[in-house]
Each structure stands twice: as C-alpha cells, then as structure tokens.
Symmetry: C2
Subunit: 666 residues, 2 copies
C-alpha cells in the first residue's frame, strides 16, 4: 500500500477493513459478528470542501477531514442487524445502532453462495429435483433472488430461489434457457425453508406439480457451446498509443486534457467521480449512479416479487467484474482495484474493477470554408472510466466519458441474460401478453430498468440553482408578424421537488451559478443536463413496487444537499415496504435556489425482450450528457490540435484489381 | 472507368453526363442551355426488384432495368426552367417539360459563386461597403442565402446575400464573427439588384443606415488564428488493421459481416444505401436522408426568410466534403468518388465524398457466470459509411453504422459555424429572447434542424406493415392482483398517415412482414425503429415556414410506395409556397397494410445556441436505430469470436514509480 494517509475520497484499504473489525471486536467482546459490509463512510462535505478547495487553489492544506468507516453486521448470537460508524483516526466507535427488525441489509457475496448451497442441499428441494428424473450429466442450479415485498407484516430475511436445469459439462452452460417450475423460499437467518412456490407455466396463473423433465434444446451463448461455427472474416483492429496515454494517474487522481478528478469506489455504488474540475474550475463535487430498480411486469405470483434494487439490495461495487486486459477495453488501459470484506471481516481484493482508457469518437468539430476549400478538422478524443457489474443474470456497463469540449457523458449499456420463466409454449401460437417466447419452454417477461443518476454540482462553486428551459413559439402579435419566431421560457426550481421531461417543449435542465455572469452572454454560467427522457414506472402507484421506488416515478428531482442522502431509494431497500429516499426528502420543501443542492435524474429502459436479446443480449445503450452552457466564452476545444494524417496514420484501402483504370480519370 | 455497364443503383458516371448533354443539344438545337443538375433518375422499382432478387438468389439475371437520367436546366434565351428525363440506353429524350415560372430549381455550385461575385461587384453594394470605411487588410464577403418565401405572388429567382467583414490575411478567417448590417437581394436570372435590406441590430426590428465600422475582436476557429497555444499533451492514437479490413468492396457493392449493400449517391441526397441484406435476407430496399430544413426563430425581417431546405434547395451530394486520409476517419479507409455537372455540362469529379471504415464501439455483449467466474465477452465491431456536407456555415456528418447484431444506425452530427446576425451588445445585459450573444457585436439566433429519414423497407420481402407498440399497465383486475403487471398495445397504421412518438407510453414503431412468422415467438418477423423523439416545428401552422415543411410537423409518416416520391418536402423546395411532399401524399389514404410502403421519420435538434457552439460547434449527435425484433431466433452476434488479448493486443498502463509496493498486496 502507498504509505501516505488516505485522501478523503480514497476507497477503503485492507488495513482499514482490518482496523474496523478490531474496533468492533473490542466493542463487542466475545460476541460472534458476521460482517456484511465494511466501507468508508462518505466524508462530511463541510469538512471536505475547504480541504479540496485548498488543493485546487494550491494553498496550504487544512487538517484532513476525519476518516470515517461504516460497518453493517449481524450479531450471530441474536441475529440482530447493526450499523456502526467508526472513526479510523481515533480508532473508536462513533455509534453502533441495532436496526429495527423490519430493516434488511443488502445481500453479500458470501450470503448468496450460502443460500445457493442451502437450497441445493435441502431435502424438500432434493425431493422436487428427484421428481424431474434428470438424465445423467444434467443437474439443477439456482439464483437466489431478492424477495420483493408483498406483505406489510413480513420481517423475516427471505430469499426466493429460482431453479434451473443445467448440463454439467461446461462452466458456461446457459441455465436460463431451462427454468424449473418450482421455487423454494428460505429464511436467511434461521436457514429454514419457508415455502415451496410453484411457478405458473401456462397462459394464466395456474401451477402444476413437478413432473419428469422432457429434455429440450437449450439456447447457448458460450462460444464452445454454439451449434454454428464462429465467423472467420473478422480482422484484428488494434489501438496503438506509441507515446503512451494522454492521461496521468497519481494514486486515485486522474488528470487528462484539462480535466481532473478523484476516482472513488465503494461497495454500494461502485465507481464514484469526486471533485471534478476543468481547467482548474469547479464543475461537479460528486457524480454516481445512485440506485437502480428492475421491476418485472408478469403479474402472476411469485413473479410479482421480482423487483431488485441492484444498488441498495446488492451493490455495484461488490458485483463489479474483475476486468481482463484486452477483453473489456481496447488500447492503453489503467485499472483500479477495490476491496470488500468477507463475512469474517477479511479483506478481499477486487482486482481491476475499474478501467480507464482513451478512445477516439470520430470528429469533434469541422468547418470547411467553401470558398477557399480550407478546412479545420479536430477529432473527438475521449477519456472513458468504466465498470461492468454482473447482477446474477444481467450485466450493466457504466462509463463516465469526458471529452475535450468539457462534456461529460454517463453511458449505460445493458447486456447479459434475460431473467426467464418456464412457459409451456410447444403449441404454435402460445404466447402471453407480458413476455416474449425466447426458446422452447422458456419465456422472458417484460420489465423495466430504472436508473438514478445523482449529480452533486459545483458549477464555479457550491451554491447553484436548477431551472428548466422550454422552447416555445412567440405570441402571434406585432413582434412576430411572420409567425416563425420562437423563444425560451425559464422555470426555476425554488424548493426541493420533482419535474417532468418534455419532448414537445424541448425541455432542457440547467444548473447555473447566479453569482458568476458570463461576460459575453450576460447570463449566469451553467451546465446543462441532456436527459434521457424515459417512460417512468409502469406499476400502479398503489403497488408495493411503486411505493418502494418513488424515485422511479419522476425523471427529475432536486434536493438540498444533506450528508447521508446519497441513495435515491433510501438507505435500506431490501424488502423495503416504502421508499425512504428522494420522494420523502423533497417533502421538506427546502429552499434550493442559490443553495448547495443535488440534481437527480431517473431514466431507464422499458425492456420488452426481443428474441434477439437471448441467450445473451446485444448491448442496449442509454446516454445522459452534461454540457457546458455559457460556462466558457467560446468552444473550449479550439486549442485541440488539428486532425492530420501525420498524427493519425490511417491506411488507404487499395483499389481493387478489377478496376484497372483509375476512377478519377474522365 | 470500369468497362461493364452500370448497375441500376450505381451513381452517375462522366460518360453519362456527357451523353445527357449530347442528347439535349440535339433536342434543343442552337439553344444555349445552362445545366443545373445531371444525375441518374431513380430506377423504377418494379423493374429493379426482379433484377436484384435474381442477384440475391443467384438466379439468371433478367435484362437490366432502363438506365434513366434526369436533367434540370435553364434555356438561356428565355430563362425558362426545364426538367428532362432521358433514356441512356436508347440515347433519347423521354420528356422535357418546361416548369411553371413559380418553380425554382435548387442552387448549384456555379450559381452560388456567380451570385457572390455579382454581389461584391455591384455598385450599390460597393457604395454600402464604402460607408464602412474599412481599414487596410479587411474586406467584405457574402453568403448568398436561399430566399425563404414570404410573398405568394413572388416568381422571381432570388438570393439574399448576408454580408460579413473579414480580414484578408488567412483563408480561414471567421467572417461569421463580424456580420454586416446590410443585405442585398438579387434576381439570379436577370442579375438585377432587387432591394437593399438593412438588418435589425438592436433589441427590436429597428434598422439603421450603414455607419463606419468600429473594429471588434474577432472570434477565430482556425488553429493558425488562435490567441492561445495548442494543447501539447494529446498523444497519438493509432488504429492498425495489420490483416486489412473485414469488409470487401466490389465496384459499389459492400459486404461485411453478413451485411451486403449497394452504395448509391446522387447530387441531392448524397449517400444512399440500396438493397440491404443480412445473411442473404432482405432487410431494406433503400435508406436515405430525404430532406432537412433549418428554420430560424428570429422573428424580424429579413431573418424570417432564413429557412433552408438543405437537401432540396442545395443537395448533400454537391456539398459533400472531399475527404482527406487521416483527417475525417481513422483506421483503414475506403473512399468513394462522385460526379456532378457544372453549368456547361462538363463532368466534375467529387473525389472521396464517401468514406467507409470499421470502428470498435466497446462491448457488444458480455456475461459472467458468477458461480464459475467464466465470462463470454464479444466486442462491438461496426462498419461506418459516412459523408460530411458543408452547407455554407454548417457541417453535417451523416453516417450509416452497421453492427454484427444486425443493427443499423443513422447517426447525424451537426457541427460547423452558427449563422450569425449583427447585434449591438456592448452595453452589459443587452440580450434578445430569440438568440445568444456569441461575441462582441454578434448574436446567434435560435433555430431548428429538422431531418427526414426515409426508410423503404423490405423485411423478408416488399409487402410490409408498420405498427406502433405502447407499454401500458394491465388493468386493475383479478389478473393483476399485485398491480405490477404491464403489457403492450399494438396499433397498425392501415392507411397512409402520420403518428406521434410518445415517451410516457414508450412507443416503439415496428415494420413487420405478416407473411413470415417467427417459429419461436409465433409473431411476424420485424425490424423496429428506435426513434429520436424531437420537438417538431415551432413555427405557427399559419406561417409559410410550416406550410412549406409539412414533413416537420409530425415525427412519423407512412406512405404507399410510389416512384418519384423520394423527397419529404416535395421535389422543388426552393422558394416553395407550400409542401408538395409527405403531408400531401398521405391524403390519398392509401391502404398500407401488407403493402409496399415507405416509413419516414422526422427528427431534429432545437438549437438554441450555446456560446460554446461558437466559433465552431462541438458536434451535436443524434442517433436513430433500426433493430431486428423477432427477425431472428436468437442474438445474431453469437458467432462473433470472443474478445481476447491475443486478438486485441491492448497495453497495460505501467504502475507509477511513486507506488513502489503493488496495490494488490494486502
């Protein structure tokens, strides 16, 4: 490890994980503890801002803010669930609170494996499996699922195990192609079987007893298991940076093309961008994907409980893929590692969970003077910082992309495998109105992926204002005699609340600093949010699905900054009965004009599966952009050098021998 | 030239241009003709389809369809404007019609230069310039503008010249930074000055007489003219394809990764994709950007006439940039040339106006089995075919992007320079509600860019059906006891007409073939259109701006195919009084279910300039996608080889010397 003390934005280190366990073991002598999470606690903003401002301005640094750690754990003697805050500097407990029994912490990696094994070894499950009369070389596996709420009195920690039939001859056999029709529910604390659910597999909610399995043709994604040969006509495409990359990385601080930011990561959100500045000017204090929920549209029990909160229930940090050179990124790659705890409090290395590289994204700007033919051409070099998270069946690729024109993009790609259910679809024409047949005996229900992008702005300072701007026709009056005029209307969000997107009004959201006026436009400096307008949650407002996911009912939210308000769906989402997040916080009606505020954008995909999304889904890409709007006095990328063949070294395609006479000759 | 006869989809060749002039000179003996356009006439679909089907199926080819040429010309003796259709095979005139005098043909390259010179040499203009009392080294230039309609009786061919002050010391001085306050209007046939307009330059419509110019600081984009030094920290990024590209090009036919298409180009639309098949199956007959209009929102005369139809009034083919290796594309590049005529009928080579190359676009699909850790990773290789058009101040980059999962993307990037107007903005706070100050004395008015994407589908055949599908909650009844269920509603467009996009309903448009049922989904094979939902035209329906651009009032249109219905705004848009395009054709109420139909998508940008868009605009990117939806029985990219370091040859970033101890150690 680096020998210097951690920066306030640095991720947790192995010694800090060990320190946390030592502090708690001293606080709970002789009590066996099961650790779910040991991570850094978000530093207090009021302590951090003076520190990073001194860094930015090159001034003497004040004392480092307190380094706080957060631990979620169970007492193994009583089963009670605790949240502790520790001071790493003083090696002391700040607080250790037992949480109410209706609060469930997130699933952790060890727990998932334990439930899987518990399920497979349980006699009742084995009895069901026996009824399948599986042939040799075929077995069952299961995905333990977050148990979505449907009972206000439920306080047990539950998992619903979805079972699949899978051949044992290859580690990538696609079990999602062969879902079983039974699904046990377990209590994760007592390890008891709570109930054996049977799954509807026809066109209605009827279920049947387990019958001997009739083998079906499986739909495989792994290259080894395909029926068809691989394509042979794809030629290598190699990115070379003979002089190295244009970025510099010092510990967790990245500098590239006037950008500077601190790479944070934690077990819940995964990648976090801290303290983002451009050419020494503050832009954003913190950017992250705060929450995500995936509610399913199949109305039948038990599928109605399929509503994962992939951030709050699981965590992008602990599900982040350990990336391999040359597979997940192309070019010159810098990786960042992370650490998590296991259930015993031992640090676990998460190798290469974040990758950083440059990419070329076509042209950035071009103009040709048609009189002289003289052209100015500049390419669009980008810096990409990315993580890929596997949440059971699905993969999500999150990338923050920075460019030389001071744009910031959050790109989300959804891939991986559809969560499937059994469906007796042998008879031609058999379909359901809430899903797509994707293979023999298997159907993929409709669902939504709803993301919350949390933006804590610092546009030339921490006091900002959010407003939206609509484009509207000018009135039909003397000032608009030809009826072609149009203008913009501004609406300031003066108190915490939500807002809608609007395509018909070309609504754009902006974050401005009223204290800094652009000398040319005479308007406050601003960044604009180019939203991804999306259908909001389809579940009825009366459903648990909607009550738990208030953040997914409106695309735009503004709150006044408060420490501890990081997660759009609330701190504890697993088996939550209602949201303790955004929709609650805005009710304070805080003044948010010229304040330290947070802007949140809910966007997503209504994903009615195509059969082409199976057995592994071609990426579905969603993009949200943050762009300077009156932040500069001209295009900030003008000083990017021109695009030239001497620099880019492209290759001209040789003319075909079939055309012996040059096409250019007349 | 290649010795074989042209394919029906081949662009025009120099001998054909010469042939056309010979045929017309024989038909109009001793009449001086001024050629505006000599191009191929779109072949008759009923003749072409049997031919390309025989090609596709490897059957004996029928006779080649007639090769038709289209010529637009003026009789120089009478000024009359003609359209002629010629049969290149029989070397004969099919028709040569004098068009009504209210019809204006598009501007041609020679005409633009002639008007520019006429303007600069006219005594009245020179008298105004004299009043500016320009210092040495500074002169004026002008952009002749399409004269938007404001008078139903106008039949003259007019150009409005917008004048700018420009230094003479560099070919890329940015004249758009210094607009003049006078603007002459010329008759392009008689060469007469029609009127000297004076431009409003305050906060209202008031104009002033020309005054001596007070020099201002210009805002420059060319690298030579910048005040600031260029960035020195951008390192080379080189794409190498040591085994060559994965595409093959034979004449104008491109094959790549199961795709095959014919590259067409013409002077009006520029790039056209013909006869697109995937793995031997028909997908689209023809794809093109059919029209585009740019109406401005400044309500004051004469700015209300700024409404260019960049396709119909000018043409993307004749404004396409002649691309340079290593500047506009990166990697292994194949270029295609084009030809146009000059006003005398001489062929003019348009070198390298279309480029073809591959690109890497991150991951195509990935799944990690979290139990085994085994991952399948496939990268997203794409084929890009692109043209870049300079329409006076603006540049548009149009790319069709094909991928290995059978997706087709139309990507539009807007760049270039804002069309500016003079504005007396010295006094702080001086602004107008329809534009943005972008420099001293210069303002960029709000405007819209409205594109029409024409899709002539052939989804497994030429009889197709368009419908839209909305995602809606299931009713609150016994089948939806938990209120989380949702489903889709389909609406078939049975007769020609228009439709709206809808974000709240997640509306998706699909093109299906009811005669081909997918064996797994039990639904017709289909491609879906992922629209770019956009604000439609802001001009009042009562304005000429809207009457001329009916296509820009609705995002979706479906028409029954007819030869000659290629252009969304009608054939002749220059100074048109009303549209003769989409909005008229749909009134036929043609049956379009299971018919040979055309789908049109209007999308665009409401562009309220940022100051960062000046003096040259960072690309604004818009994307429309066509994706298979039940066209295949599984992900068609499964057979793409895995992403491996052996193939991709990435580079690992070296650890910093400041961190002597590996971060991976605990």
């Amino acid at each position: 490890m680096a020998s210097h003390p951690p920066h306030p934005f640095d991720p947790i280190s192995p010694p800090e994980i060990v320190l946390a366990t030592k502090i708690l073991e001293a606080a709970f002598p002789r009590v066996p503890l099961r650790y779910k999470k040991i991570d850094v606690q978000e530093p207090l903003k009021r302590e951090v801002v003076p520190y990073i401002e001194a860094e930015r301005l090159g001034q003497p640094l004040p004392a480092r803010p307190s380094r706080l750690l957060q631990v979620l754990f169970h007492r193994q003697d009583t089963g009670a669930f605790f949240k502790a805050l520790l001071n790493a500097g003083t090696k002391s407990v700040i607080s250790a609170k037992e949480l109410p029994k209706e609060i469930q912490g997130p699933v952790d990696s060890d727990e998932l494996i334990e439930i899987e094994q518990l399920c497979l070894s349980h006699p009742a499950v084995q009895a069901e499996v026996a009824k399948l009369q599986l042939p040799a070389g075929v077995t069952v596996c299961n995905d333990p699922w977050i148990y979505g709420t449907d009972d206000p009195e439920e306080t047990r920690r539950l998992f619903q195990c979805y079972m699949y039939i899978v051949a044992t001859d290859h580690p990538q056999n696609n079990h999602y192609s062969v879902p079983c029709k039974f699904s046990p529910v377990f209590n994760a604390i007592t390890r008891e079987l709570v109930r054996m659910d049977y799954l509807p597999s026809g066109v209605d909610a009827t279920t049947t007893d387990t019958q001997p399995w009739k083998p079906v043709k499986t739909i495989q994604y792994a290259h080894d298991l395909l029926d068809e040969p691989l394509r042979t006509d794809l030629k290598p495409y190699i990115v070379q940076q003979p002089e190295g990359p244009s970025f510099r990385v010092q510990d967790n601080v990245v500098t590239w093309q006037k950008w500077r930011f601190h790479v944070g990561s934690n077990s819940r959100e995964g990648l976090v961008i801290y303290n983002l500045t451009y050419d020494g000017r503050n832009v954003f204090y913190r950017l992250s994907v705060s929450e995500m929920t995936v509610p399913y549209g199949d109305p039948r029990a038990p599928f109605h409980r399929k509503q994962a909160f992939d951030v709050g229930d699981v965590g992008f940090g602990i599900t982040a893929n350990q990336l391999a050179l040359g597979c997940d990124c192309l070019g010159h790659i810098k990786y960042f590692d992370g650490y998590r705890t296991d259930s015993k409090g031992t640090p676990v290395l998460l190798k290469n969970i974040i990758c950083l590289h440059e990419q070329d994204n076509g042209l950035q700007h071009k103009h040709t003077n048609y009189r002289s033919g003289a052209a100015t051409v500049v390419r669009n070099r980008q810096l990409v910082i990315q993580m890929i998270c596997t949440v059971a069946n699905y993969e999500y690729i999150f990338a923050f992309i920075f460019d030389q024109a001071a744009n910031i993009e959050l790109e989300v790609r959804a891939t991986g495998i559809l969560s499937t259910v059994p469906f007796d679809n042998e008879k031609p024409g058999t379909t359901v109105p809430w899903g797509t047949n994707v293979g023999p005996g298997v159907m993929a229900p409709y669902h939504q992926h709803m993301f919350s992008f949390r933006m804590d702005p610092a546009v030339d300072g921490h006091k900002n204002t959010v407003y939206y701007e609509d484009s509207v026709p000018l009135p039909d009056d003397d000032n608009n005699p030809y009826l072609v005029g149009y203008t913009t209307e501004q609406t300031v969000l003066r108190t915490s609340g939500s807002a809608d997107t609007s395509i018909p009004r070309h609504r754009v959201f902006k974050i401005r600093n009223d204290a800094c006026i652009n000398p040319i436009t005479y308007k406050p400096v601003a960044y604009k949010l180019q939203t991804s307008p999306s259908q909001m949650l389809l579940a009825s407002p009366k459903s648990y699905g909607a009550k738990r996911a208030g953040f997914a009912t409106k695309p735009i939210w503004v709150t006044k900054y408060q420490d501890d308000e990081l997660y759009a769906g609330g701190e504890f989402t697993n088996q939550s009965k209602q949201s303790e997040g955004l929709d609650k916080w805005v009710l304070r009606n805080d003044a948010v004009e010229n304040e330290d505020l947070v802007l949140w954008h809910t966007f997503g995909l209504t994903h009615n599966p195509r059969i082409e999304d199976f057995p592994v889904m071609p990426v579905e890409r969603v993009s949200v952009m943050l762009k300077p709007d009156g932040f500069f006095t001209k295009n900030p990328a003008l000083d990017v050098p021109p695009s030239t063949q001497a620099f880019n070294k492209s290759t001209l395609h040789p003319e075909q021998p079939c055309c012996p006479v040059g096409r250019g000759k007349l």
